[in-house]
């Protein structure tokens, strides 16, 4: 299933609800474009909701890392919300769990940006 991205605003935070696969050719470019667009518009608080992301490959992991560093370099913050078990396990295996701020609860995630 191709990746879909829906955007919404909550207390100054842009929440991107992602659904589908994040892989080379199926979502990586979409995430890159979406993050660059937000950064270009001056958005400083970005929350990626991965609750409906059922598959991510090494390219997708790399894209998340690139999004994180792009945001950080521009003075913005990018955090993750609601990992599925598979994505959670992959982030632990690759030690990326130590890189990202990760939340299970949306309200807590939104509050963390303040």
């Amino acid at each position: 299933m191709a990746l879909t991205i829906a955007s919404r605003e909550l207390d100054g935070v842009t929440v991107l609800d992602l659904s589908g696969r994040i892989t080379l050719g199926e979502g990586s470019v979409q995430i890159r474009d979406a993050i660059r667009d937000l950064i270009g518009k001056g958005q400083k608080s970005i929350l990626l909701n991965l609750g409906d992301v059922n598959y991510i490959d090494s390219s997708g992991l790399g894209e998340l890392v690139s999004a994180f560093t792009t945001a950080k370099n521009q003075g913005a913050a990018l955090k993750l919300l609601k990992l599925t078990k598979k994505v959670h396990d992959l982030l632990q295996l690759t030690k990326l769990y130590t890189v990202f701020d990760i939340f299970d609860d949306e309200a807590s995630a939104i509050a963390s940006f303040k």
Partner: protein
């Protein structure tokens, strides 16, 4: 486009996974490895042994076809959902490496793929016609200085998810052999 269909092989036409993985000969320059001959089923067995091999163009569509074939083989072998996910992802990563880093999407180059259930293991080989890959030269993606790199995790994931991973230089190209051992069948069932 995926060309060949599944075949069921008699037991004596398939070597063990360890022999396949560790005793493969060096390929001659410019050639893909010689495929194992495929035969029609002539020996009914309780657990069908399967092997298929094919060549595909260097596209992402091909990666999807290899992934789907690996998933089907893993499902038929009875792997649980988590193991099936890991095996399928490892094969997908190997196919991406072959198409992207090996053949660099060159339409004149192909990837050669074989998928086999030996009864004892699932064995996948993916070969490209690229410049070759030195697995010892790959940086450790878990090293602190590499954690924020956007690339370099594919081979690590393959090694993490499979029981054996072997590299073979084809001159030109690289062949990866991925082995996932299967649990022995329960004699009561």
């Amino acid at each position: 486009m995926l060309i060949l269909s599944w075949r069921t092989l008699p037991l004596d036409t398939i070597s063990s996974s360890h022999e396949t993985a560790s005793k493969v000969p060096e390929a001659r320059q410019g050639e893909f490895p010689t495929p194992v001959p495929e035969e029609a089923d002539s020996n009914p067995v309780s657990t069908p042994k399967r092997r298929m091999s094919f060549s595909l163009s260097s596209t992402m569509d091909s990666v999807g076809e290899v992934e789907a074939a690996a998933d089907k083989l893993a499902e038929e072998a009875g792997l649980d959902e988590d193991e099936r996910f890991r095996v399928t992802m490892a094969v997908r990563e190997a196919a991406v490496n072959a198409v992207l880093h090996g053949n660099e999407y060159d339409p004149a180059k192909q990837i050669a793929v074989s998928l086999e259930n030996t009864g004892a293991a699932l064995v996948f080989t993916i070969a490209d016609q690229g410049r070759g890959l030195d697995p010892d030269s790959l940086p450790d993606p878990l090293a602190p200085e590499n954690l924020l790199r956007g690339t370099g995790r594919g081979i690590f994931l393959i090694r993490s998810f499979m029981d054996e991973v072997h590299f073979r230089q084809l001159h030109p190209g690289t062949e990866l052999t991925l082995v996932k051992n299967l649990a022995p069948a329960d004699p009561k069932t």
